[in-house]
């Protein structure tokens, strides 16, 4: 009896410690855990934009805090195109190039091209630290590939965000959709987070959920001087609603695009929202389920400067705070 009790207590303790440890074990995932997005998507360059990728590449930045001096790794989950997760067009024939950059030319604050917003410009700025082409490789299907180790000092130093590294995924051939995720980790074999690190992009191409109830989120950061934002979304297939939420906005219903189409909306920013994150919520259309919907989102301020989406929202996930005002009125 006593033995049973000890076993029971041990199992309970292990469960509890796993529960507490679980978020840490996830590392710095991209998409982030608060984003509730299944996969990033990049199509082979022979794909059609109506399938949900406007430019067939995707650029992400990792920011390593300045006080972190150990080596780290960038892990890619399911980097190949084939097998599980990926979107087949006919038969799998796509090759994707993943490249990691560091050094001068990476920091998007100093190199506008590095943001990767404009096709044909030099979004590969910086020193190439590592790269690899993935085709249909069962070895990496539903598994990890790890880049690194990297030394933080090999990044491009930004006084605000720390050492910046860039990873670019290009669909260099074929027409299938490569669905993948990134993890920033201190360990080559496990996902162990770097405290204070983050990841961001200026153009987010991702896969929407294949169910009605799941809501995806992305979290743009509203920097100093922003008066309004211009939200642009691509190839939404009229699949539901984008609600813009902040502590002061319960949910502005932003217009969404249709097939192979851009939609744009302008949303005023209130002064208290500056220096915090917004929550763009992507609600699926109810009724007939739109499956395998890949979409693109970008954001600009009133001057046309691109704003960042952070995988881990700066300042935390914004939660709307209702505010009741009561005042006396004359009886009617």
């Amino acid at each position: 009896m006593k033995f049973d009790k000890k076993i029971y207590t041990l199992i309970l303790s292990l469960c509890l410690s796993w529960l507490f440890m679980a978020p840490r074990l996830l590392g710095q995932p991209v998409p982030g855990k608060d984003e509730n997005i299944t996969f990033l998507v990049t199509f082979g360059k022979l794909g059609e934009t109506s399938w949900g990728d406007d430019d067939f590449y995707q650029v992400w930045f990792f920011a390593i805090p300045r006080d972190f001096t150990q080596q780290f790794y960038i892990r890619i989950f399911d980097p190949d195109t084939g097998g599980e997760h990926d979107e087949i067009q006919g038969e799998f024939n796509t090759r994707s190039l993943f490249s990691v950059y560091g050094g001068q030319g990476v920091d998007p604050d100093r190199n506008e091209d590095s943001k990767g917003l404009h096709n044909g410009l030099n979004y590969k700025g910086g020193n190439l630290l590592a790269s690899r082409v993935f085709g249909g490789e069962p070895r990496y299907d539903n598994k990890y590939f790890t880049f690194g180790p990297f030394n933080p000092a090999a990044g491009d130093f930004n006084s605000k965000w720390g050492y910046i590294f860039k990873i670019v995924c290009e669909g260099i051939s074929g027409d299938d959709g490569n669905l993948y995720r990134y993890y920033l980790s201190r360990d080559p074999e496990n996902n162990i987070p770097i405290e204070g690190a983050n990841a961001f992009t200026y153009e987010y191409t991702f896969r929407m959920w294949n169910d009605f109830k799941s809501v995806a989120h992305i979290y743009p950061y509203i920097d100093t001087g922003v008066i309004y934002i211009r939200l642009r979304d691509f190839d939404w297939d009229n699949d539901g609603h984008i609600l813009v939420v902040s502590r002061y906005k319960q949910g502005i219903d932003a217009p969404i695009s249709n097939e192979d189409d851009w939609a744009e909306s302008r949303i005023a920013i209130e002064p208290p929202e500056v220096g915090s994150s917004l929550d763009f919520q992507f609600h699926k259309r109810q009724g007939e389920l739109v499956k395998n919907n890949n979409v693109v989102v970008t954001l600009e301020n009133q001057r046309g400067d691109a704003l960042q989406f952070f995988s881990s929202p700066i300042g935390g996930v914004p939660v709307y705070q209702a505010s009741i005002v009561v005042r006396k009125v004359k009886p009617k």
């Binding site: 319960q250 709307y320 005002v325 009617k332």
Partner: protein, 484 residues
């Protein structure tokens, strides 16, 4: 008799039979009176054989008119052997005694009648009554000189820079000026053509640096008898004297008030201010607690002081009706024209409302829990109690007058202070001033008005003495209209 020149005096003579008739009625009327709310005292500076009339209250004294002699050598008189009136000022020596009157001199002193008068709000401009003609013609024995108003500057005890009022006329009387406390209106008496009969009250408005054409106060104030000695009190009450029928006898003091553009039916001041004799030239302080008037109830025209036992506050807050109506709004939601949300309010009293902005009126004071549920119209999710708010609905902290806004003459009306909301006050007394020189004490009282008009009711509450002997007091007022 007061100084009532020419036609004024003849009007009084014509109405003598009316006065005699009412004098015969007076014992009956007096017996019906309640104990008087005024105490009157003849002023010690009123001389025996001479007349003192038309007091004007100044900082620490009284300006008045008198035909008293100022020198033992010569006594100035008119052709009718009436002594001339001149202007004097007397200051208080202390609370019970007065100094010697000092004459306020002008170029007209001892040549013409001077007074009655009034002081403009600036305290130095004097409007006074005198005679219009000053040339040789005035020396003819049968010449009838009419009174007019003159404007002059008072400096010490000297009047200078005299200029005539533009509506003086050699054909009729103009006199007895009274300037309103805001300086915008000049009231006066005149028997100019076009009046209601006898002497009437008129006013001019100060527009673009001059007095406008005189306007007759109309038949509600002016009668076929004579009205004169107007005094515009800062409260808006216009006091005047009239020898119309229905008074206590001869000249009596009445008051009226402008309500929504028309003058109320004048009310007669009670005894002992009014008497079977001539009672006139009433003036009072801002609180209507004390003042002066003239009367010939003694051997000659004298100035009397009155002190009211009625409490009437000069500063009294207008009653704020209790209001239990509120607007509720979701502050962030109202900034946007369309949001995919529905806002459902529970007001805490069983009622509900829908919208980013809603209004609701509660039945009365209380503590109410406001709950806001929000329905996401996209996800159909209901966020219950998205926000709550504790609303404390209270009555306004004030004494409270509960009574009808309107009543009729002769109707018994209930006045209640039950809804008074003064937390922490141990109220000892509820004092009602009904605005018609009557009072009552009690939390709930009844009152019957005898005359139509608009009455300003004051409710004054006071506490039992608190530690240190402090008695707290609060006053609210409310107008009610009494119709015939």
């Amino acid at each position: 008799m007061p100084q009532i020149p020419g036609i004024f005096r003849s009007m009084l003579k014509k109405n003598l039979y009316i006065i005699i008739f009412f004098l015969t009625l007076s014992p009956v009327m007096v017996s019906a009176q309640q104990p008087s709310v005024y105490q009157v005292t003849r002023m010690s500076f009123s001389s025996g054989p001479y007349s003192e009339i038309s007091p004007v209250m100044v900082n620490d004294g009284v300006i008045f008119c008198s035909d008293r002699r100022t020198t033992g050598i010569r006594s100035r008189t008119t052709f009718e052997d009436k002594r001339l009136y001149n202007i004097f000022i007397i200051e208080r020596r202390d609370t019970s005694d007065w100094r010697k009157p000092v004459e306020i001199k002008s170029e007209r002193s001892f040549l013409f009648n001077n007074g009655p008068l009034c002081l403009a709000p600036d305290g130095r401009t004097v409007y006074f009554t005198s005679e219009v003609e000053t040339g040789k013609v005035t020396k003819k024995k049968n010449f009838v000189n009419h009174s007019g108003i003159f404007i002059t500057d008072l400096s010490g005890t000297t009047l200078s820079s005299m200029r005539p009022f533009q509506y003086n006329n050699t054909q009729y009387e103009v006199g007895h000026p009274s300037v309103s406390s805001d300086g915008k209106y000049l009231f006066f008496a005149s028997d100019m053509p076009g009046g209601q009969g006898g002497s009437d009250l008129y006013y001019c408005e100060w527009i673009n640096g001059q007095w406008s054409t005189p306007v007759n106060l109309g038949p509600k104030v002016n009668s076929s008898a004579s009205e004169n000695y107007p005094f515009m009190h800062p409260s808006g009450r216009l006091y005047f004297s009239s020898n119309r029928p229905g008074g206590k006898g001869r000249l009596d003091v009445y008051y009226t008030m402008l309500t929504m553009g028309s003058w109320d039916t004048p009310s007669l001041l009670p005894e002992p201010i009014n008497s079977p004799s001539d009672d006139f030239a009433f003036v009072a302080d801002d609180n209507l607690q004390t003042g002066y008037f003239s009367s010939n109830r003694g051997s000659s025209d004298d100035i009397y002081n009155f002190a009211s036992t009625i409490i009437r506050k000069s500063s009294c807050e207008t009653l704020v009706p209790n209001n239990y109506c509120y607007e509720f709004l979701e502050e962030n939601a109202v900034k946007w024209d369309t949001l995919p949300f529905r806002y459902e309010w529970k007001f805490g009293d069983g009622d509900r409302g829908i919208g980013a902005t809603v209004e609701h009126c509660y039945m009365g004071p209380g503590q109410y829990l406001i709950q806001l549920d929000v329905v996401n119209l996209i996800t159909k999710e209901v966020m219950y109690n998205e926000k709550t708010y504790n609303l404390l609905v209270t009555d306004v902290e004030q004494p409270y007058i509960s009574c009808p806004d309107q009543g009729a003459v002769g109707q018994r009306m209930r006045f209640s202070a039950d809804s008074t909301n003064l937390p922490g006050w141990n109220i000892d007394r509820y004092y009602w001033n009904f605005g018609d020189e009557t009072i009552a004490i009690g939390k709930e009282v009844d009152k019957t008005y005898l005359r139509p008009g608009t009455y300003n009711i004051q409710l004054i509450v006071s506490t039992v003495p608190e530690p240190g002997g402090v008695v707290r007091e609060a006053c609210v007022c409310k107008n009610i209209i009494i119709i015939r």
